[in-house]
Structures are given as structure tokens and as C-alpha cells.
């Protein structure tokens, strides 16, 4: 029994958790910015996929991972602008557009995969440069910390920094507060002369940027390859993390880590005979249960309030 537990829960699981949760963290950060602006973006999966593809494209043709990331982020910006143009300006239904983006992303990436690279299924090449790892020499001395925190891709460390930056942005700067106001009560923002529409556009573009980064991490982070459908529903898991984390960057970060953990553990569990589907389903199940518990609490609070005011 100890052996089994040892196989499952060891430091490399934590290392894996960090790796697997990075795209979730990035995408969730982007998605929560739109959530704070009261936009539900279920097209994140497609945005991640597009980011992954253009990341590979950029890295391949410029033989530089930096260009790969630039391309991924640019593609995210374009898709983000498109999304907010449709949803905020034209007032199109946000989930029709989101689902259509997912289908579009699937079609576009495979089409380009075949027309540009001439392959089916997946594309890999030595010419694709991976995102560099950071090796911190002073960590090498402490084995424990070394395994967990050292030698990750730039994007991993970037994602942690971004959690902090997004938190500061949302809660410590006027612009972040305007963004939150645009989601909570846009008219109140408009009456003081700040355009709530502009803030919503901004949130959408940032979501595109973050999803682009998430995609870049997927395709350039450890392996350098693009395969069809490689976003693998991470956009939806990110959505679950956002809801679970109540759209707060730090809580969402925690949720994303948790879900990443289950993913990593899931692979181990499979090794000892527990089907991977269980751990894969956990993010989604947990989210539904969490929503239910919160709604119950909210309803009870309302009942108590109205009882108090009866005199």
C-alpha cells in the first residue's frame, strides 16, 4: 500500500501539476477578466487552439520561440477583438459566437496544418524552437525545491507572475476597478464618464492574449508540436476553474492548480488501475457541486433577510 501511495504521490507529481496547470492558469486568467466584465466566453478552447498553432508557426518560420509566442499572442489579440466586436458591439449572443469560434478554430488549424505544413494529425520538427527553460542555480542545492520549482518553461513562471499582476490590476488600479464596474453595473460607470463598452473590449482582447499564451505553452512549452485538437477542452476546464474560483485571480489560480493536480494524479492512478476518466471528470463535477452549495447558501441568506425585516 505504501508503495502504491509512494508511486502516486511523489514530488514529480507536483512537478507535473505545475506543468499541466500552467495553460489552465493562463487561460483562466484571461477568461476571468471577461467574466468580471460580465461576458461568458465559452470559445476559450478555440482561442487556445489557435494560439497553439500560431505559436508553432512563428517559432518554425523564425527559428525563435520568442517569435512563436509573439505570433500566438497576436492571434489571440485578433480573435479577442473579433469576439468583443460581435458580442459587445453587435450584441450577438455570446455563446453562439463562442461555440462558433471553437468550430472555426478546429477547422482553421487543421486546414492550415495541411495547407502550410502539408501534414495530417500532427506537426513536429527540429526547426521549432521550444520556449526556454529557466534554471536557477541556487535552487539546485535543495533537492526538494529543485524538483518542484526549477527548470520550468518561461511560461510557467510567467503564469505565476501574471496571477499577481492581474490581482494587482483588478484590485489596486483604477483601470481594473473600471473593468469590474463594467461587469457589475455598466451604467454606473458610464455616468461618471468612463466607457463600459471600452472596458469590455479590453477584457476580451486580454482574454485573447492570455489564451494565446496558454496555447503557446502547450505547443512550445515542453514538446514542440502541434496536433489536431490539442487544446483538449482545456478551455472548458479553465472555465470551471474560473467559476470554482469565483472569478478571483488567486482563488482561480488555486482551482487551476487543483484541477491540474487531479490531471497529473490521474495519470498516476491509471498506472495502478484507476481509470483516468474519474480524475478527468473531477473539475467539472466539483464545479457543479460548488455552484449548488453556493446557491443554497444564497437562498438561505435571502430567506433569513426577509424574515428579519418582518416586524
Amino acid at each position: 500500500m505504501e508503495e502504491i501511495l509512494a508511486r502516486i504521490f511523489n514530488l514529480s507529481v507536483i512537478q507535473n501539476t505545475i506543468r499541466t496547470s500552467t495553460p489552465l492558469i493562463l487561460a483562466a486568467l484571461g477568461g476571468l477578466l471577461t467574466m468580471q466584465a460580465d461576458i461568458l466566453n465559452i470559445g476559450m478552447d478555440g482561442m487556445i487552439l489557435i494560439g497553439a498553432f500560431f505559436g508553432v508557426l512563428g517559432s518554425y518560420f523564425f527559428a525563435s520561440s520568442f517569435m512563436g509566442v509573439v505570433f500566438a499572442v497576436l492571434s489571440g489579440i485578433i480573435i479577442g477583438i473579433f469576439f468583443s466586436f460581435m458580442v459587445v458591439k453587435l450584441k450577438a449572443d455570446e455563446f453562439i459566437v463562442g461555440i462558433a469560434i471553437n468550430i472555426f478554430a478546429g477547422g482553421l488549424t487543421v486546414f492550415l496544418l495541411r495547407s502550410i505544413f502539408g501534414v495530417k494529425g500532427a506537426f513536429s520538427s527540429d526547426q521549432i524552437i521550444a520556449i526556454p527553460r529557466i534554471q536557477m542555480p541556487y535552487l539546485e542545492n535543495i533537492e526538494f525545491l529543485n524538483i518542484i520549482f526549477n527548470n520550468h518553461s518561461v511560461t510557467v513562471y510567467l503564469s505565476w507572475i501574471l496571477v499577481v499582476l492581474v490581482t494587482i490590476f483588478l484590485y489596486k488600479t483604477p483601470y481594473g476597478m473600471w473593468l469590474r464596474a463594467s461587469g457589475e453595473y455598466p451604467e454606473a460607470l458610464d455616468t461618471v464618464g468612463v466607457s463600459s463598452q471600452l472596458m469590455k473590449h479590453f477584457s476580451s482582447v486580454m482574454c485573447g492574449v492570455f489564451c494565446g499564451l496558454a496555447g503557446a505553452h502547450l505547443s512550445l512549452g515542453y514538446l514542440t508540436l502541434f496536433s489536431e485538437g490539442m487544446s483538449a477542452d482545456r478551455g472548458f476546464i479553465a472555465l470551471a476553474a474560473i467559476i470554482f474560483g469565483r472569478s478571483h485571480p488567486v482563488k482561480t489560480f488555486g482551482a487551476a492548480l487543483l484541477f491540474g493536480f487531479f490531471d497529473a494524479v490521474g495519470m498516476r492512478l491509471q498506472g495502478v488501475g484507476v481509470p483516468s476518466q474519474f480524475s478527468k471528470a473531477i473539475p467539472y463535477l466539483f464545479t457543479v457541486i460548488a455552484l449548488f452549495i453556493i446557491a443554497r447558501r444564497h437562498l438561505n441568506k435571502k430567506k433569513n433577510n426577509s424574515m428579519e425585516t418582518v416586524s
Binding site: L90, F104, G107, V110, V288
Partner: protein, 351 residues
């Protein structure tokens, strides 16, 4: 012209423009790809029509689209958004497969009937959960249904890789269902099977339900103005739940037909997103049952034709997905674009 018809005609025009624009864009992409667009589209439409086999394949692709489109239409009509049809489809498919591999000694008709009914029941039951959460706890059904999709897909994936895994190979599927329950093929070598007749019947039933019954009327009113329905004595909560149950049932049946008619077993990736396609179809035609049939046909043509187009011209079949989504983008923004464009025309008239 009566105002109501005027809106319908305007919308149809927008729809045609959207499709034309998307096809035009597709043609431009083909041209950039170095291929003649006219040849490309010719190959596409020939590939969907010009042989018995090809036409049969097109029709067979319509089946899941019509069912999922109707499932969407019923729920959206009543103002409750069932985005979880994919999961309901998977569970329904598995239920049908379960009947097909467990109760194998019933006469064919009976077995098929039980399989379809069980699939519908399972789909409806699974849709009941988000419906309750929405109606009694005000939990957004869009989110719960999306989450439950994945839960169902993983759950059936587990079932089919472990307890019900087939011994006939390693594919993530169940055993083949009893031969008596396999729906007979209508055209040799194609996937077109007798499910298309059943879908036609179901389509007529749902059309009847939505347009000609008191329940359909209640659904419409609840979806258009819930306050009006409540005021008028309609129990909107009950109606919304009923609509979800029907929607889930239809999605389950779609899954059943995939098992009984196409694959003869449950496979872990049995649906490549049929429900999302069906949902987009229903949304494009604004939940009109007849429109769903036409649009499903059109999408089926695109899907089937894309394969032939690829074989004939080497243009990747995924181009069709791009065309599909561009149509959606155009039609989704239609109302907003009209608001911007119309005043421009009016100003011109006044001058």
C-alpha cells in the same frame, strides 16, 4: 405585407446573404490555396449528390443533426438553454448499446424500441438535473450543462474501457449489439439506415408539438415573456422543466441511432460534436422545425461534399468547418448589423 412576414423575409434574406458571403470567403481561400473555387464547389456538391451512395451518405448525416437541432429548439423555445445535449447524447447512446448487448434475445422491433426508449429516458433524466438547478436555485443552466457534458463523456468513456469494454479488440467500445437490433441499411455500403424514417416521424411529432398543441403554445409564451405566462396562469417552472426533459430525450435518441444504425456499438468518441452542430442549426433558423430540416440538409451536404472535394481537389475538408462557422458569425451578428446599416439607408432616403 404584414409586419410579421416582413421580419421573416428580411431574416431569410440575411440568411442567404450570410451563406453566400461564407461561400464566397471559402472560394477565396480555395483560390489562395491555388485551386479553382468553381471546381472545388462543383466537387463538393457532386460529392453530396451525384450517386445513390453519395446522396445516401448525405441523408444519413442529416439524422443526428435534425434530432439535436430539434432538441435545442424545444428547450430554447421555452427559454431554457440546454447546452448539455452532447452529454445527454452520449448517455443515451450508451443506454441503447446496453440494451443491445444485454437483452439480446428479444424480437428485433421490440429490442430497438426498448433501446430507443431507454436512451430517451436516460437523456431526459440527465437533463432533469440542470433543469432543477435552474428553476429552483437559479443556477445558470448554460454553465451546468456544459460541465455535465464532460462528466457524461468521461463516465461513458470509463464504462466502455473497463466494465463494458469489448473483447473484440482494443478500441474503447462495447461489443457489437445483437444483429436483430441493428437497423437495416437502405443503400448498400452507405450509413443510411432506417433511422431516417424514424427521425422523419419524430420530426413530424415535434413539429406538431411545437406548433399545434397547447403545450407548444405554453412553451412559446414562457420563452417569450415568462412574466406574461405566469400572469396568465401558466406554470412556467413546470413548463421549463418539461421542455428540458423533451430536449434531453431527443438528444438521447440521437445517441441511440448512432449506436443502432451507424456503428452498431458504443464508441467512446461516438459524437464529433453533433449536438453543437445541431444547436447552431437551430439558432440559425430561430428554432423553426421546418427550417431545422432544411438547414440540417444543407450542413449534411457540406459535410459529405467536403470529403469528395478533398479527394478530387486536395482541398482539405476542414474548409467546410470554416465556412460553417463563418455563416454562424454572419447570422449571429445580423441583428446588430441591421441596426447599424438601416439608419444609413434611411438617411439616404430622407436626403
Amino acid at each position: 405585407m404584414i409586419k410579421k412576414d416582413k421580419y421573416k423575409v428580411e431574416y431569410l434574406i440575411s440568411l442567404f446573404i450570410s451563406i453566400a458571403a461564407a461561400l464566397l470567403l471559402g472560394g477565396i481561400i480555395m483560390w489562395f490555396y491555388g485551386k479553382n473555387p468553381i471546381l472545388g464547389y462543383k466537387a463538393m456538391f457532386e460529392g453530396a449528390f451525384n450517386s445513390q451512395y453519395r446522396f445516401a451518405t448525405t441523408l444519413s448525416k442529416m439524422v443526428p443533426l435534425v434530432l439535436t437541432g430539434l432538441a435545442t429548439a424545444v428547450s430554447f423555445r421555452a427559454g431554457i438553454y440546454n447546452i448539455g445535449g452532447e452529454g445527454q447524447l452520449y448517455l443515451g447512446a450508451f443506454a441503447a448499446a446496453y440494451v443491445g448487448i444485454t437483452f439480446t434475445s428479444l424480437p428485433g422491433y421490440l429490442g430497438i424500441l426498448i433501446a430507443v426508449l431507454l436512451a430517451a429516458a436516460v437523456g431526459a433524466a440527465y437533463a432533469y438535473i440542470p433543469a432543477l438547478l435552474k428553476v429552483y436555485y437559479d443556477i445558470d443552466e448554460v454553465i451546468t450543462t456544459i460541465m455535465l457534458n464532460s462528466v457524461a463523456i468521461f463516465f461513458t468513456g470509463y464504462l466502455v474501457n473497463y466494465p463494458f469494454a469489448t473483447s473484440q479488440g482494443k478500441m474503447g467500445g462495447t461489443d457489437v449489439i445483437a444483429e436483430g437490433y441493428q437497423l437495416s441499411r437502405l443503400v448498400r455500403l452507405s450509413n443510411l439506415n432506417s433511422s431516417i424514417f424514424m427521425v422523419a416521424v419524430i420530426g413530424i411529432m415535434i413539429y406538431y408539438l411545437m406548433e399545434k398543441t397547447t403545450l407548444g403554445y405554453d412553451f412559446k409564451m414562457v420563452g417569450q415573456n415568462k412574466d406574461f405566462a405566469d400572469y396568465g396562469g401558466v406554470n412556467s417552472k413546470k413548463r421549463m422543466i418539461t421542455a428540458m426533459l423533451i430536449s434531453g430525450g431527443l438528444a438521447g435518441i440521437a445517441g441511440a441511432f448512432e449506436v443502432l444504425g451507424t456503428h452498431f456499438r458504443f464508441l467512446q468518441a461516438i459524437s464529433p460534436g453533433y449536438y453543437f452542430d445541431g444547436m447552431l442549426i437551430a439558432l440559425i433558423v430561430k428554432n423553426n422545425p421546418l427550417g431545422i430540416i432544411f438547414m440540417s440538409f444543407f450542413f449534411a451536404v457540406l459535410k459529405t461534399g467536403s470529403m469528395s472535394m478533398e479527394m478530387a481537389t486536395e482541398i482539405p475538408s476542414e474548409l467546410v468547418l470554416i465556412i460553417q462557422s463563418v455563416i454562424i458569425f454572419f447570422i449571429a451578428g445580423e441583428a446588430g448589423m441591421k441596426k447599424i446599416i438601416k439608419p444609413l439607408f434611411k438617411r439616404g432616403e430622407e436626403a
